[in-house]
Every structure is written in C-alpha cells, then in structure tokens.
C-alpha cells in the first residue's frame, strides 16, 4: 500500500465573490432569503471569511452571527449562531436547517423586527473557487515539517477547509493522505483531526498543523 501511495500535490486557491442581489434588512428578510439561497452562499458566509480581507472577530465566527450582533443588535441570536459548528453537520442543507431553526426561535422571542441601517444590510454572496498548482509535492509524511511553514493561506484553505467538501469521507487532505502510511502515522492523523478549523484563522491553523506534525514525528522516531 505504502509503496504505491501518490505524493501529496500542494495546491493553492482563492475565492472570487459574486453578488446574488439578495439583501436582508431585518431578521424576517434574512429568514426568507436563507430558505432558498444556494448552499454555495451559505458555505461562503461560514468559511469564506478565512480568505477575505478581514481580521478575526474574537466573538463571532460567521457572517450571520456578525450581522446579528453588529447590525441588528440581537446579541442572543448572535451568540447562538456563533457556536454553530459547520463541521458538525453532514451537509450544507443540514446546516441551513439549523440556522433557520435558530432564526425562527429568535423571531418567536421578538416583538417587532429591528431594522439594520440601509448601508448595513446582509448581502448574500456566492463564490467561485480558483485552484492553482504550486509545482510542489511531498512523498513522505516526514517532509511535511519542511513544507508546512511555507504554505500560503490559500494552500491551507484548499487542503484543510475546502478538502472537507471535496473528499467523500469529509476529511481534510492531510489525514486522507497520511492514512495510506498505516499505523505509524495514526497519531499524526489524530492530532490533525483534533485541530478545530472554525474558531481560528489560516495562520493559526498552519501553526497547529506544524505542531501536530512535529510532535508526532518525534514520537514516530521513538516508535
């Protein structure tokens, strides 16, 4: 098995944003659009922030939560939306159902909808992903320690975030590839699987990956 393992080809990627023309000024409008908006758009509003021009929001981690907190000042809803972990859902449709449920719940608790300022409406955005070849690859898990520090944010996004929707088993590319090298690298796989991609940014995810690989590598040498 190990001898036939393909190298891990390193890719890079970027997202390009497209308007949907759908914008919500209050929670009811958000709910209506959310019912029919493409899953591509929901994905963008949960994960696209990692590649967008922005800095981390220490409190809220997806666009729905950020908008609820800062534009319609609905902090309870923002908190509930912020802890929704997209990784825990089997599909984007399941994630849509969850968010809709939280919004419905909040609407039930609300006497009248708060309106966002005209310039502060929720803009539903969709995206296209462009994948680049970097011309680099690794043949052996040991080489990951060399290449990981040099990976761009786009590469981390492609192999660690985007991979979960590309790969049928829902795993990132690193775990899938390491799986071919058998038991000596199970610990490394487990360490990578414990990295939470949601409450982080791409630089921190890269640092966590480096730590996971380095820690396991020294353990692997002992084994």
């Amino acid at each position: 098995m190990e001898g036939n393992t393909m190298p891990l080809y390193i890719k890079d990627c970027t997202l390009i944003a497209m308007a949907t023309g759908k914008r919500a000024q209050n929670l009811r409008e958000l709910r209506e659009y959310l019912r029919t908006i493409s899953t591509n758009s929901i994905y963008y509003h949960f994960w696209g922030g990692l590649l967008r021009p922005r800095f981390d929001d220490p409190e809220y981690h997806n666009d729905f939560a950020i908008w609820s907190a800062h534009s319609i000042y609905n902090k309870p809803l923002a908190e509930r939306l912020a802890v929704v972990d997209p990784v825990a859902f089997s599909s984007m449709e399941a994630l849509r159902t969850e968010i809709l449920g939280l919004i419905e719940e909040s609407l039930d608790e609300t006497e009248y909808p708060v309106w966002a300022k005209r310039d502060d409406q929720f803009e539903f955005i969709q995206h296209q992903i462009v994948v680049f070849d970097t011309g680099r690859w690794v043949d052996r898990p040991e080489q990951l320690t060399e290449i990981l520090p040099e990976l761009s944010r786009g590469s981390i996004f492609f192999h660690f975030i985007d991979a979960r929707r590309r790969n049928e088993n829902g795993l990132d590319d690193f775990q899938n590839w390491l799986g071919h090298f058998g038991p000596p690298f199970q610990g490394m796989c487990q360490a990578i699987s414990s990295i939470d991609p949601y409450f982080s940014n791409l630089h921190k995810i890269r640092d966590a990956l480096i730590t996971a690989v380095q820690t396991h590598q020294s353990q692997g040498a002992i084994e």
């Binding site: 949907t20 021009p53 992903i129």
Partner: protein
C-alpha cells in the same frame, strides 16, 4: 514588469497570474472607457493593459469620445447612478445613443471579433446594442457606487446593461440585481506608481520647508477633493478638538484645484473660512498630477484621516495604508472594507469620534506603528493591482468556461 511586481507582491502571486493567463494566451480582449488620462479608471487600465499583454493576452484599450452633449449626458448618468435626481433631455439621450452607434461602426472590426469586451462605466454601455450577433463575451464594469441610483435613469441604463454576459461592481452594497453573473471586484493601487513608490528620506524631509510644516511636531493629513462628502470642515473641527489636548498638532488638507467646479470653489471657501488664520492648518491646492507630492505628504504624516460622509471605495485610504499609516476614516462605503477598528485604524461617525481616536494614536506611538505595519500588510494581501488583475482573469476564464463553480488550473 511582472518580475518587479513579484518583488513587491510576492512570487506566488505572479505565478498565479501566469497560471490563470496560460489558457487565455492569444485571447483578444478589449477594454473601452472614455478617457486615457485622468481619473481612477484610466489609472487602473494604464497598468492593467500592459500587464495583460505581458501575460500573453492580446489586450487593447480603446476610448469612446463624443460631442459636448454626449458628455453632458454621461455626466448626468454618473450623478444619477450615485443617487442624484437628474433630468436628461431627449436630445442629450439621443446624442448618447448616436455616439455609441457611431463608435460601433468605427470599432466594428475590433469589437465583433473580440473574445472578451470589458466596458467601463456608462459612457460606452450602449455599444452592446449594436452588436446583437457578437462572438465574444461582454462585461460591464461599474466603478460607481450604484447602491441607490436615481431610478428613472437607472431603468434606462438597465436596458443596456442587462444585455451583457456579466457585470462587475466594487463591493456588494454598490451592486444592482441583474440577469447575469455579478462579480464583486474591489479596486486596487499600483505599488509601482509614482504615487506609491518608496521615496528617499531626503525627499520626504524636503516637504517640511516647502510647505512650512514643522518636522518636530505631529502632523495629521487628509487628501481629497474639496467636496462636502469628504467633510473637510469636519476635519478642521476634529483638528481643533485634538489641539485642546495636543496643542502642537498640525493639519494638512491637500486637494485638487477646483477652478471648473463651482461647488468645489464654494467648499474651498468654507474650508478657508473655517481654518481662519490658524498657522498650523495648511490648505494645499495641488495640480491633478502632483502624485509625488501626495506620496511625500502621506509618508511625512503621522496619521491620515479620510473623514468622508459618503465614499466610493476610497483609494486614498489604500494609498495611506500602503505607506504604513493608520487611517481614521468615515464609517461608509469601501472605507469600511479597509479600515478595521483596532487593526488598521479606526472608523468614526463624528468629528468627536475622529478626534478621540487621533488623540489615542498620537498618545500611543507604539500602537500607531503597529497599526501602520498591519495596514501595509493588509493592502499587500488584498488591494494591490496584482489581486485586481487575478480577479479579472478569473472572471474572463469563468465566462469562457460556462461559469463553473470550481476552476482548476495547472497540473
């Protein structure tokens, strides 16, 4: 030229451009706008077209010109798209349509066979009506804030714009709903432009004596036209609030001449009245091509303000950030995309808010420096012409490949 950009923006960024351009080599692409000089669109195309050519794309840049009636009409369109109620006469609209028809005949050979045509702003937007059997893909690029257009004029323009294969707006709130893909592509600055290149320290120091500015005292700067939406009087109010606590602060307001703009002249007069005889307020009227002077002023300042009440994208903000300056900006338009509270500067809604933030930064030079460095990195990653070009190439590739959701390049 690409190598020079690689040194500034990163080699991987230029490598991405090469990969994106590879399948587009030999493609005939035409940009059309209404001027070769002056204004942000010409400035972007001036660099974008040669870069596309260096990447192997057969890019051309054409301009549409007309009689005074045509320009009256297109100036009216510009104002209407920005939301001002405008009445255009039948003769103005006829002149607009006729100028576009005339240009369609002149440029027929180029346009009919082009693979991609990118039309900038409303001036050449009606051209598409003369090419019902066109071969290529046509894109309308709107550089104007179209968030709240004056509806009667927008309905008229929409009939043309709807015929395009795609359109591009700078940010989502500026966009309109259209029956084709609507891309969001932010503008950019050119790091190798005279306005943005690194300068020798002697040149920066030379600005102090030239404009009688004291190099030993803090200087805050706003670069903008003398326009009410840029709130220059509010900036003077901000400065006065700061001066109560930091008496040695100086303010520089640098803007273009206003000879052909009656309202600009009036605003300039208001600014002068408001400044009174304060020797620490420097009002500089600079010619439109004073790029190097603006560059020096931005580098010589401690904090840059852009206290606009309404703003398009605000490229003066990007320029200041590129020079490691924290920016205190109005909470509006594209400024919000660039100025991130506590990271690259502060957003403010009032002169009081701007003054508080200015005092905070002037009292904390180490934070000011940290924010300035963050601001530069933020621009490098997001707002350079290389990113802009990458998104244009992506758009072209996607249009020619039936708008697939995933575009895979290279091996």
């Amino acid at each position: 030229m690409l190598e020079k950009y690689a040194e500034v923006a990163g080699h991987d960024v230029v490598e991405h451009l090469r990969q994106l351009a590879e399948p587009l080599k030999g493609l005939r692409l035409v940009h059309i706008n209404s001027t070769k000089s002056g204004g942000g669109v010409a400035e972007i195309l001036y660099k974008m077209v040669p870069l596309m050519r260096e990447l192997g794309i057969d890019a051309q840049w054409e301009i549409i010109t007309g009689e005074p009636l045509f320009y009256e009409c297109t100036k009216g369109f510009h104002n209407a798209i920005q939301g001002n109620p405008v009445n255009l006469t039948d003769s103005q609209l006829r002149s607009y349509e006729q100028t576009n028809r005339d240009y369609a005949q002149t440029g027929e050979a180029i346009l009919r066979d082009a693979d991609v045509v990118i039309i900038h702003d409303p001036q050449p937007a009606a051209l598409i009506s003369s090419f019902q059997e066109r071969k290529g893909k046509w894109v309308w690029r709107c550089h104007i804030d179209a968030s709240r257009p004056f509806r009667p004029i927008w309905r008229y323009l929409r009939d043309f714009v709807s015929q395009y294969d795609a359109s591009v707006f700078s940010i989502a709130p500026f966009s309109q709903r259209l029956p084709h893909p609507v891309y969001l592509i932010a503008p950019s600055i050119d790091p190798l432009h005279e306005k943005n290149i690194d300068l020798p320290i002697e040149e920066i120091e030379g600005i102090y004596s030239r404009f009688d500015i004291d190099p030993e005292r803090p200087m805050i700067l706003q670069v903008s036209r003398f326009d009410r939406f840029k709130d220059p009087v509010g900036v003077i109010h901000t400065y006065r609030l700061v001066k109560r606590f930091i008496p040695h602060v100086q303010l520089v307001l640098a803007g273009g001449g206003a000879s052909d703009d009656p309202e600009g002249e009036a605003v300039l007069q208001e600014v002068r009245t408001s400044a009174s005889e304060d020797p620490d307020i420097h009002i500089l009227l600079l010619p439109g091509d004073a790029h190097r002077t603006i560059n020096v002023l931005q580098r010589a300042s401690d904090i840059v303000l852009q206290k606009s009440l309404r703003e398009g994208f605000g490229l003066t903000v990007t320029e200041a950030m590129w020079k490691n300056k924290p920016v205190i900006g109005g909470d509006t338009g594209g400024i919000r995309l660039q100025v991130v509270n506590h990271h690259t500067g502060f957003l403010a809604n009032t002169p009081e808010g701007a003054a508080l933030r200015t005092r905070y930064l002037l009292s904390n030079p180490e934070i000011m420096e940290e924010m300035g460095n963050k601001a530069k990195a933020f621009v490098r990653e997001n707002f350079l012409v290389t990113r802009h070009l990458r998104e244009y190439l992506t758009l072209v590739y996607a249009l020619l490949n039936e708008n697939q959701e995933r575009i895979q390049l290279g091996g």
